[in-house]
């Protein structure tokens, strides 16, 4: 592989500094004991040791994003008549995410299909996505709850990243995957990486072996429709859920959103903001009717979307990257991989779930 | 927020309709001189004032908040101001914990006939807020 490189430990800081000259760089920063993606600046305490608490989805899919602003002006002749002007803003800065994990990067591929591969593409997501380069760090160790290998991923999976960096003991082994990645590699002044490739591969396999195969060896879990439709199963499994929405906001593959108008007197904005199917108001209609009023119906739809509906619509792609955040940060430790493993039992496919 | 000439600060006043609003009206009718920073919001009773009104005002651009109701035992609804007294005392003690000077929030009891007392309260409270200065530096005042 010609497109590899190596950056020794002492030059690592300069490498990141160099990137921030070219674009707005987002790095995982340590605050209290939390790792959160922030725009790079010198004072930031950068932490690559573990996956960030929140995935970098906020860089390309911000938690609140102005779609357009509107302003009312009174028509001088006819004060009763109010004129409206709309103004959209579609310019996005060049951005680099460094320190995402393979599961985070794969998350954006799950976004790409509904957001861009359609006859009505989303210009906001598409604009930011095209301006963003994703430099992923392969995992040095799985985190509590990780199950990426059970959904076709892995701690060194290249899918969705422009560059994959693996930490070896004297520095960082770089693999450029896409054109964007190659361009950055050339400009980074990195040394030749071939002498470090073997060490990096060994490290990657070693970590890969340590990720538990929670429920599906071949990475393509198939769910039995009859058990999926059995509401008692869901009622029992989700009795402990408090239906908060932390799992949807922390999930790299969740892309649902809400649109609201925020107005002050004579002007305002229509904004898009994160939303999640686990919230009561997600499907609540003005008449009071709610197609999914209970938490177990909502979670059934959440599992259904990721493991049945999305694959049905996009030729078998599972809309879950196994990052484990929804398990790690669930107030009541609801374990989606355990639920999916139970749903597989009927089909008897090769699963060694608990 | 409508534009405010730089000298004036934004002070919000929640006045109970039966006593304090009457008191402010008496002060106005008797032409008592009062600073103009305070904007009055009439509420049915001081018991209607949710501490969240005060918090929302303070963190969305107000520099000071005043709440005034009937004197204890005179409440038109008999116990509205008793509940208010507890809530507003709880809030007053919470504000410093958040980093907001509790002198920016004041609650008192003024009856409809006490125009004089209203004028003194408004004048003193406005000068107290001016001594403290704006709560929000320019940029943050926009919601």
């Amino acid at each position: 592989m010609a497109d590899t490189g190596f950056i020794p430990k002492e030059k690592w800081g300069a490498f990141i500094e160099g990137l921030s000259a070219k674009a707005q760089v987002w790095v995982p920063c340590l605050e209290e004991d939390i790792v959160i993606f922030r725009p790079y600046s010198k004072e930031r305490v950068i932490c690559f040791d573990r996956p960030a608490n929140t995935p970098p989805k906020g860089v390309i899919f911000p938690q609140s994003d102005t779609l357009f602003s509107f302003a009312f002006t009174k028509d001088p002749e006819n004060p009763q008549k109010v004129m409206v002007e709309l103004e959209e803003k579609l310019d996005f800065p060049k951005t680099i995410i460094i320190g995402s994990r393979p599961c985070d990067a794969k998350g954006f591929l799950i976004y790409d299909r509904p957001y861009t591969q359609t006859d009505t593409p989303d210009p906001y997501y598409k604009g930011r996505r095209e301006q963003t380069t994703i430099i992923t760090m392969s995992c040095q160790s799985p985190s509590p709850g990780c199950f990426c290998t059970a959904v076709g991923g892995g701690p060194a999976d290249k899918v969705g990243s422009d560059i994959l960096i693996t930490e070896v003991n004297t520095g960082y082994f770089i693999e450029a995957i896409t054109e964007k990645g190659k361009e950055i590699l050339q400009q980074s002044g990195a040394e030749n990486g071939s002498s470090h490739e073997a060490e990096a591969r060994k490290k990657q396999e070693e970590v890969h072996s340590r990720v538990q195969d929670r429920f599906c060896a071949d990475g393509k879990p198939k769910i039995s429709r009859d058990l999926f439709e059995n509401d008692d199963f869901w009622q029992e499994e989700l009795a402990k859920c408090v239906s908060c929405g932390a799992c949807t906001y922390l999930c790299p593959t969740c892309y649902c959103f809400n649109i609201t108008d925020e107005k002050t007197f004579e002007k305002g904005e229509r904004i898009r903001s994160w939303d999640g199917c686990m919230y009561t108001h997600f499907t609540l209609e003005a008449s009071g009717h709610n197609p999914r009023p209970t938490k177990y119906q909502r979670f059934k739809n959440r599992v259904g979307h990721k493991f049945i509906f999305y694959p049905e619509k996009y030729d078998g792609v599972i809309a879950c990257c196994g990052c484990g955040r929804c398990i790690r940060y669930c107030p009541m430790s609801v374990d989606i991989s355990e639920v999916v493993s139970k749903l597989q039992k009927q089909t008897g496919s090769a699963s060694n779930g608990k | 927020m409508s534009e405010v000439d730089p000298k004036e600060l934004r002070i919000v006043g929640f006045l109970c309709n039966w006593c304090s609003y009457g008191g402010a009206d008496t002060a106005g009718v008797s032409r008592f001189k009062q600073p103009t920073d305070l904007r009055i919001i009439r509420v049915p009773c001081s018991g209607r004032v949710d501490p969240l009104f005060i918090i929302k005002a303070l963190i969305n651009g107000a520099d000071g908040v005043l709440v005034s109701g009937c004197h204890p035992r005179d409440c038109h609804y008999s116990d509205g101001n008793f509940y208010a007294r507890r809530r507003l005392e709880m809030l007053k003690r919470l504000l410093p914990f958040l980093g907001i000077d509790d002198k920016r929030f004041h609650y008192t009891w003024i009856s409809a006939s006490e125009g004089q007392r209203w004028q003194k309260t408004v004048t003193d409270f406005t000068s107290q807020i001016h001594r403290l200065g704006p709560l929000h530096s320019g940029k943050e005042a926009q919601p």
Binding site: F72, Q80, P114, D122, E229, F257, I259, C277, F282, H289 | -
Partner: protein, 278 residues
């Protein structure tokens, strides 16, 4: 819908006329501010649009004037929540935002040469109206048309002029009903599903199209089954909480289908493989 256009940016429309259909339903006739757009705008009967009241929000309504009558686009709005409440405060001449056309439409080609049975309840007549008027403007393409329409009380009946016109026409069989006795009401009394049983239309070579409150749909579908209408011959149009209108924001899904993009028009056969819906 041109693809590189921003699908979230509404086009400005102006209200030309407002009709008080019932105490809580108003019909808004709107035209695009850009006259050029008015000429080039096309849509199919059954497609929906998102009406924007800037500062309040957006809601989805069916375009219930037919594509054959393009002097204006008409939307009927029942007051229910924030946006519909704000819409009911507007006057002719006010401006709104419109994102249209969205979603699929009634498969009127496959209905050609067949008998058509419309079953509507309350504001449920809105989506049916666009198709009825479209069919009346191409009357020759369809055999006899039967319309069973009911509401709680006579003032709750929508499109009173259309009802008079349809009643007077010989080539339309209109059956009106209200839920209970009402002074001055001399026609049928009874819920729409029970009237459907009384009329008992034959399923032979007939397409049934129904829309109304969920409770009515439930019993209408049961009765149609008893009258052994086949699932693929029963068509309905669904309603749901919608935000993006282009099949991304995730809230109006029925399994893998989105009501705003893959619907709102579905046949009962399609709805069967979403258990729990019917």
């Amino acid at each position: 819908m041109a693809s590189n256009k921003n699908p979230y940016l509404p086009e400005l429309v102006t209200i030309t006329n407002i009709i008080e259909e019932t105490p809580n339903i108003k019909s808004f006739q709107v035209v695009f501010n850009d006259p050029e757009r008015m000429k080039t705008f096309t849509f199919e009967p059954g497609q929906v649009g998102q009406l924007s009241v800037f500062g309040v929000g957006e809601s989805t309504f069916v375009i219930n004037s037919p594509p054959t009558r393009m002097e204006y686009l008409q939307f009927s709005v029942m007051r229910a929540g924030e946006v519909t409440g704000a819409l009911h405060e507007l006057f002719p001449g006010d401006q709104m935002g419109l994102r249209a056309p969205l979603g699929n439409w009634f498969p009127y080609d496959t209905m050609k040469g067949k008998k058509i049975l419309f079953i509507g309840g309350g504001i449920g007549l809105a989506p049916l109206r666009t198709l009825i008027l479209y069919m009346l403007d191409n009357r020759g393409d369809y055999k006899d048309i039967t319309i069973i329409y009911g509401a709680r009380t006579p003032p709750d009946l929508c499109y009173k002029e259309d009802l008079k016109d349809w009643e007077s026409r010989s080539d339309v069989n209109l059956i009106l009903t209200v839920d209970a006795e009402y002074p001055g009401w001399d026609k049928r009394i009874g819920f729409v599903p029970t009237v459907l049983n009384e009329v008992a239309p034959s399923p032979e070579d007939t397409i049934a199209i129904t829309c109304g409150p969920p409770i009515m749909i439930k019993f209408v579908l049961q009765n149609l089954a008893k009258l052994n209408f086949k699932d693929e011959d029963i068509i309905t149009t669904l309603e749901a909480r919608m935000k993006c209108g282009i099949g991304i924001c995730g809230r109006c899904n029925l399994g893998s289908k989105y009501i705003c993009k893959d619907g709102p028009v579905f046949s009962l056969a399609q709805l069967r493989d979403f258990p729990g819906v019917i």
